[in-house]
């Protein structure tokens, strides 16, 4: 081993460094493409904000899913149901009240934003409890089917005319049916700063952005600050779930993943542990859903289809189930390469070429047969990038399961104790034996 790379290698061993390097690489690539395309400051900042948004959210949700699948081996493919419950409950609690039964107007309880966030998170956790009671004793594949069915039932509920609007104590509330809900509670970033009595600081930041962007800097500032807020949430999830994993609690979860009966035989009430972990994970998914959609202006039930769940699964599998670091890296890679990447590419191509996409696959193919003209097919491909990226995601998932089921970081030792286990501390000499026989 050469002495020159060992400090670097040692540095790379640290998980925070791995995540940092990966994020730096992703951002650099995006900025460089932006420079090449002459995006301008506003465009660059917006693209960074969007990237940060998705990187952080996929990291958050993979972390939550990792608690279920990676740690405990609970095969939950109903993630989107918990996200939907989170944001819907949050919306109903925090939307401005509507007392008049005016046509189409559905209001909320008008409570502060943080109450809504809390309520949404708790509601997702409670749904988790409801699912856990019958379902956690089922085989993994049955649990999968039950959870995905549950997430569809959640969507049907929000879609249903039955709960579209109803009156509670003189307030007209509801889930809005197929047309969804307008989120009329303003920018959460501004409200957060105001709540912390930092309104002045916020105005200062907007002013700062205003020095590089002339017109209306506020949305850009909000986007960036929200990204920072989300990264903070990722940090929080990472620390909390890391502590959870490196503790006796996490140790029992891992034992359950490996062999539930054996853990039971050692006196661990595995059902209670599973329920706790499941409920916590669901609450974190609910919070993830809230953070994802609270700035979107409106929500409709059909956003919450199972494919969103599978996005998060792919992110987790890229990173490697069982590892929090892997979850964050998988989330970041998924967001940058598979989720945002193709859309980014699409806008790049649209910027460079005048795309005149044919409306059907047939019209795209016909010119090839005729004059060997590949351009229409190319345009069709660019125009259908949102479908193609889903095909690619499917292929990536198949590839990973074939070639690298343990994920990006490979087979890792994830410690399962709150204390250092690698070396025995109370010894005069460290637990190594230079050259002694020790297979």
């Amino acid at each position: 081993m050469s002495t020159a790379d060992s400090p670097l290698a040692a540095l790379w061993e640290r998980d925070a460094v791995k995540i940092g390097v990966l994020l730096a690489g992703i951002y650099l690539a995006y900025v460089l493409v932006g420079v090449v395309l002459d995006y301008g400051v506003r465009g660059q900042l917006n693209s960074i904000a969007t990237l940060t948004f998705y990187v952080a959210l996929f990291a958050l949700l993979s972390l939550a899913l990792n608690l279920h699948w990676g740690y405990t081996g609970m095969f939950n493919i109903g993630v989107v149901g918990f996200m939907a419950v989170g944001i819907y409950v949050m919306a109903v609690v925090s939307k401005a009240p509507a007392t008049e039964a005016a046509a189409g107007s559905v209001g909320g309880l008008g409570l502060p934003l943080w109450v809504g966030v809390l309520a949404g998170t708790v509601a997702a956790g409670l749904l988790g409890l409801l699912v856990a009671l019958p379902a956690l004793r089922l085989r993994a594949d049955y649990l999968a089917i039950v959870t995905v069915a549950m997430s569809e039932m959640v969507r049907f509920t929000f879609l249903s005319g039955t709960f579209q609007r109803f009156e509670v104590g003189g307030l007209v509330i509801g889930f809005g049916g197929g047309s969804g809900l307008l989120l009329d509670f303003g920018s959460p970033v501004e409200q957060l700063f105001d709540a912390l009595f930092l309104g002045g600081v916020y105005d200062g930041l907007v002013g700062l952005t205003g020095t590089v962007i002339e017109n209306n800097p506020q949305p850009v500032t909000n986007g960036l600050l929200y990204g920072v807020l989300l990264l903070g949430a990722v940090g929080l999830y990472y620390v909390v779930l890391g502590r959870l994993g490196n503790s006796p609690f996490g140790r029992v979860l891992k034992a359950i993943r490996e062999d539930e009966d054996a853990a039971n035989a050692l006196g661990k009430d595995t059902k209670a542990f599973k329920t706790k972990a499941f409920v916590l994970g669901c609450a974190l998914m609910g919070l993830g859903g809230i953070l994802w959609y609270m700035t979107s202006g409106a929500i409709t039930p059909n956003t919450y289809r199972p494919r969103l769940t599978f996005f998060i699964w792919i992110a987790l599998i890229i990173g490697g189930a069982g590892s929090n670091t892997g979850s964050v890296m998988g989330g970041a890679l998924f967001a940058a390469l598979l989720f945002q990447g193709p859309r980014f590419l699409q806008s790049v191509v649209n910027n460079l070429v005048d795309v005149e996409a044919p409306s059907t696959f047939g019209q795209a193919l016909a010119p090839i047969a005729g004059a060997g003209d590949l351009a229409p097919l190319g345009f069709y491909v660019i125009d259908s990038v949102r479908q193609l990226q889903l095909i690619v995601m499917g292929l990536v998932l198949i590839f990973l399961m074939h070639r690298r089921p343990e994920g990006l970081l490979g087979h890792r030792k994830e410690p399962a104790a709150s204390v250092e286990l690698e070396r025995r501390p109370d010894r005069e000499t460290p637990y190594t034996d230079g050259g002694e026989t020790d297979e």
Binding site: F75, I77, P134, A135, L138, R139, A140, D141, Y142, A144, I145, V146, V148, A149, M150, E152, M153, F156, T157, L159, S160, G161, T162, R307, F310, W313, I317, S359, T360, F361, G362, Q363, L365, A366, S384, Q387, L388, L390, I391, M393, G394, L395, V396, L397, I398, M401, H402, P405
Partner: protein, 372 residues
Amino acid sequence: MGVTESYSRGRELVEGNPLALVFGLLIVLLLFDLVGKLASGAVQVSSVAVLVKDGLARGLVIGLAGIGLSMTYSILNFANFAHGDYITAGAFSGWATTYLIAGGFGSSANVGSLLLVGAGGSVFGGALGISVTATPVAVVGGMVVAGGGAILLSLVIDRLVFEPIRDRDGITLLITSIGVAFALRYTIQFVFGPSKRGTTAAGGVPTLSVPVVDGTVRITAHDATLAVVAGGLMLGVHLLLQRTRLGKAMRAMADNEDLARVTGIPTERVVRFTWIIGGGLTGVAGYVFVLWKGTLGWFDGWILLLLIFAAVILGGIGSIYGAIVGGLVIGLTASLSVVWIPSSFSRASAFLMMILILVVKPTGLFSGRSTA
């Protein structure tokens, strides 16, 4: 199963599971309620009859497609989440053929448009006058191609995707099948476009009006086609499994793969036939479903998938009769539930049924885990 045996089985079920008793009572209660509603005239007998007809038709499709899912689930030991998209793929391949034949191989519309099943509204099934009576050759041809297409697809996917990881656990295969589902579904969308199209000439289908107490039930030629095709194929599978060596080998493998291998059953061959039979039935199920409902979209199979899982679990994984009965129960549940609950929850009621079965009797109604 003798009467006494089923009685004692039932007693065991109830004693072991108070929930099962509650479940049974609930069904009885609902039936009483239905009778009451019918007697008081709150619900018309004819409208219930329509719901039953509808539920049976859906149930047959679910059951037919469920046989394939159930067989692969028990013989290959994994829940194939791509199964719904095999249905869609089969339906599209079959309907492309039907369009091509009904469109006179390009004489009444552009061949490309016909092959893409009228993507982007370039040609309409109604305009081609497609129905089982008006264009029987196109429909039969399409049905055959749908079955063949789905067989080919499932064999190719098995060879490329599932066979290399046959020795891994069921969860790995399940996750992989989700990848297959994604790739397949959005390839279909990429090629055939995202629109939902009408496929049949709705007005031109012969219809029989059957008078029922307070109204009539209309039975169309497509209803009849669905019933005949589904019933015939189910009977065929039954004979195949009971009467042929292959069927016996398949049943043996569903019970215990290792044992089957030791006793010299060529397992890969059995696996291949499982895909062939399951895939064929699935493709045809997709085709007749589209014929029956008159529309086709890239989403159709995925929508059915969870209901099919519900049916297969209800009937007991590995049992083809279970899949058929499960399909009918799920179809009827979803259809009849609108008597009591809003129609937006009809699928939810079928899912709820599945969850209840999983909790009460996870092995399903036809437990014992044999294909027989």
